[in-house]
């Protein structure tokens, strides 16, 4: 077993674009759930909207990079309206069921064979990230960051991904400190009290749903860029639940919590994968196979989610006084 390799692989996960995508999508959830109290279980649907909106705009309509990004964002805004109109007046558990159902509807639609020409059905789409890599200002070559060596392409996608995460974190930080953010927190604590102050709760909830959803769709684009491919199987309910694990790990009502949570999530997954696979390869562990080791890690995620919720519901960075659910 090569511990150094496993360790540097795990450290590399901290800055990987996938981690950035998870962090950004979880940040959207933080705005939904942590600050507004909306139980959105359909963040995978928002990510799929972003990824497919971007990919289809590029491939089917030959849109340039920026236009494709705008299409993706417009798709997620439309999706947020569709979700919000029937459910934001209802109790939280209705919103959770409708959002999870809507996300699955999206996944079924992009998987169906009837739309193969547009969505690529189960095989997905690929080869749409050329416009993004054409903008790469870094000259060809390899870049050594100490624990990881990157190509110019890898460096570019990481720089962009984490810049987007940083900007969005800053936006959320500004938003939740603003009067607007205070209304959101008020809705989370006591919706009727806010309503009695003359605020339009429905409209505030809708705005929060849209902003968090836009973060989700940006995350969907970031998620597909390094692979330059999008596959419907990646946008199932599991993705949403992994995002929730990241969010609750870091702390739901915090700005940096989702980022820390996503980093920790991927470092732990990568470490356990490296160690388990290494141990199996070296013959230390004989009673499970490589795919079973993969499943063991997801069992761990499930158990971690339960334990977190029971013993530290405010997450690593959260403040117990600011619990969403009392």
């Amino acid at each position: 077993m090569d511990f150094l390799n496993i360790l540097s692989g795990a450290l590399g996960e901290i800055i990987s674009p996938t981690t950035a995508a998870y962090a950004l999508a979880a940040l959207g959830l933080a705005l939904h759930f942590g600050y507004t109290g909306l139980l959105n279980f359909g963040q995978a649907g928002f990510m799929a909207m972003g990824a497919y909106g971007f990919a289809i705009a590029t491939l089917t309509f030959n849109a340039p990079f920026w236009a494709a990004v705008l299409v993706a964002l417009a798709c997620s805004v439309a999706f947020a309206f569709l979700l919000g109109i029937p459910t934001l007046r209802l109790r939280a558990d209705y919103l959770s069921i409708v959002t999870i159902a809507a996300a699955e509807v999206i996944r079924y639609i992009v998987t169906t064979n009837q739309l193969t020409d547009i969505t690529g059905s189960a095989g997905g789409l690929n080869g749409f990230a050329g416009g993004f890599y054409a903008l790469n200002p870094f000259p060809e070559g390899t870049y050594n960051l100490g624990f990881i060596t990157l190509s110019a392409r890898d460096l570019w996608v990481r720089v962009v991904a984490w810049s987007v995460v940083a900007v969005c974190c800053f936006i959320v930080w500004l938003l939740v400190r603003s009067p607007w953010g205070r209304v959101l927190k008020g809705i989370r604590e006591d919706e009727n009290a806010v309503r009695s102050l003359g605020k339009n709760v429905y409209s505030y909830k809708m705005q929060a749903l849209i902003i968090g959803g836009v973060f989700g769709s940006l995350a969907g684009i970031l998620f597909t860029l390094p692979r330059s491919s999008v596959q419907p199987a990646n946008y199932g309910t599991e993705l949403t639940f992994f995002l929730w694990t990241c969010l609750l790990l870091g702390g739901a009502a915090t700005v940096l919590g989702p980022v820390v949570g996503a980093m920790l999530f991927w470092v732990v997954l990568s470490l356990t994968q490296g160690l388990l696979y290494g141990a199996i390869g070296a013959g230390y562990i004989t009673f499970i196979s490589i795919p079973q080791a993969g499943q063991l890690r997801y069992i761990m995620v499930g158990v971690a989610l339960m334990l977190l919720m029971i013993f530290r519901p405010q997450g690593l960075l959260g403040n117990k006084k600011e619990l969403v659910y009392s």
């Binding site: 109109i85 029937p86 209802l90 059905s121 990646n234 639940f241 795919p291 029971i310």
Partner: protein
């Protein structure tokens, strides 16, 4: 908390003791829906592909062996030769549409394709990892085309059967929601557990009825242990409804992958999964679907009788109505909730077995596939109302099946979910729900 791990361990031990013959299939490829940190997916040999197109060739009741069948599509092509039992199976890498062609020149002498049979024919996967392709054989046999009315009746009958098996799961979910307020995302895994236990017990050589009874009891036990080990302590701690909902998501993930750990990623069939078609006039329905229809109708009627006529049923409805008041009038609320969890487990387990025959096949994520339909049924009928869940399930089941007349099979769940969203727009409390519940 210790009890929680005990629960997982019991569950693991049950599955661990699966017959050794299954060990080889456990190394099935990782499900593609789990994003792995390393993008490198293992590329399998054709035999290890997760999806199969299969069928059985028979001529006048006799299996036809040695016939070549080719499948092409999705940038892949593979072929298979029918075995001595007439069965054939082609592994394919992705679910999608394939063109399946029977090589007529390899048919034995005197055997021909039935008149009007499509060859090559299109085969499309419908959210399961197996797709069937039937080539009717035999001279003189004419493939009949159905009238719309017959097709509609046939789909309605199948939908009724599907809806009633959904009702088994959704009545349990609705009872649990009514008495505890918990939206249980782990209910799908309770459905899977019933089917997996049935597969395990029948693998030990037990007769079908005994395996089914034991599997259903196992489902009840899982409900009982869940409540005693996890949910009751959480209620004692005063955990809120939303944290409990998220705990149930964690439990669902842990349970799903625990099942996959021991059961593997492949689809396996319960005994008697291939059943003959029964002709009722001009409408044909498979024998299993009909049996499932009868079993679930009887069970639903029994549950309704228990709820309406017995002391414990009345106590359950009282707790669902107002736990504090029920407690004040001397009802043992925790006892009632324990019974509700156990009954919910029994019903979900039975629903899982019937779902395994309906699909057909047992997989680790079969419960997850219908969890949202169960939710849709419960929301349609009205969250927390038992008879609403029954009505909602039948609507969802019939709608899913009837919609396949117009919709591609891989979109059949979409209609049901959209119906749920639309109903919420106009009647948020559901069909039988009371307005106050929506809050």
């Amino acid at each position: 908390m210790g009890l929680l791990f005990a629960l997982l361990a019991v569950f693991a031990a049950l599955l661990l003791s699966a017959p050794a013959g299954q060990a080889q299939t456990m190394a099935a490829p990782l499900s593609t829906s789990t994003p792995a940190p390393s993008p490198a997916e293992p590329t399998g040999t054709p035999e290890s592909f997760p999806n199969t197109i299969s069928g059985v060739l028979r001529n006048a009741g006799q299996p036809v062996a040695g016939v070549t069948i080719r499948a092409t599509g999705e940038g892949f092509s593979g072929e298979a030769v029918s075995s001595a039992t007439g069965g054939w199976s082609i592994g394919v890498p992705v679910q999608g549409t394939y063109e399946v062609e029977l090589d007529v020149s390899t048919l034995p002498e005197g055997v021909t394709l039935a008149e009007g049979a499509q060859n090559p024919r299109q085969v499309t996967f419908a959210n399961t990892s197996n797709a069937g392709a039937i080539f009717p054989l035999g001279a003189g046999i004419v493939v009949q085309t159905q009238s719309f009315g017959e097709l509609l009746v046939e789909r309605m009958l199948a939908g009724l059967s599907f809806g009633l098996l959904l009702a088994l799961a959704s009545v349990g979910l609705s009872l649990i929601f009514g008495t505890t307020g918990l939206t249980n995302f782990a209910h799908g895994e309770m459905v899977t557990l019933g089917a997996v236990l049935m597969f395990f017990f029948s693998g030990l050589g037990m007769p079908v009825w005994l395996a089914a009874v034991l599997a259903v009891l196992g489902g009840g036990l899982s409900g009982y242990l869940q409540d005693s080990g996890l949910w009751k302590p959480l209620r004692r701690r005063g955990t809120g409804i939303i944290p409990m909902m998220i705990v149930s998501i964690g439990l669902a993930l842990a349970a799903r992958y625990t099942i996959q750990l021991f059961f593997g990623g492949s689809t396996r069939q319960l005994p008697g999964a291939r059943s003959p078609q029964i002709e009722l006039g001009s409408v044909s329905i498979s024998q299993n679907t009909l049996i499932s229809l009868v079993i679930s109708t009887v069970v639903v009627l029994v549950v309704a009788f228990l709820l309406l006529k017995t002391r414990i049923g009345k106590a359950t409805r009282a707790v669902a109505d107002n736990p504090a008041l029920a407690s004040a009038s001397g009802i043992d609320v925790d006892g009632v909730i324990r019974i509700v969890w156990t009954v919910g487990g029994v019903l979900a387990g039975l629903g899982g077995i019937l779902w395994a025959y309906y699909r057909p096949g047992v997989t680790f994520n079969m419960g997850q596939q219908i969890l949202l339909l169960i939710f849709a049924a419960v929301v349609l009928g009205g969250l927390g109302t038992v008879f609403g869940a029954l009505v909602g399930s039948i609507i969802v089941g019939v709608f899913v099946e009837v919609s396949t007349i117009w919709l591609e099979a891989d979109l059949k769940f979409v209609g049901a979910l959209l119906i749920m969203i639309i109903v919420l727009l106009f009647r948020p409390q559901g069909i039988l729900g009371r307005k106050e519940r929506v809050g």
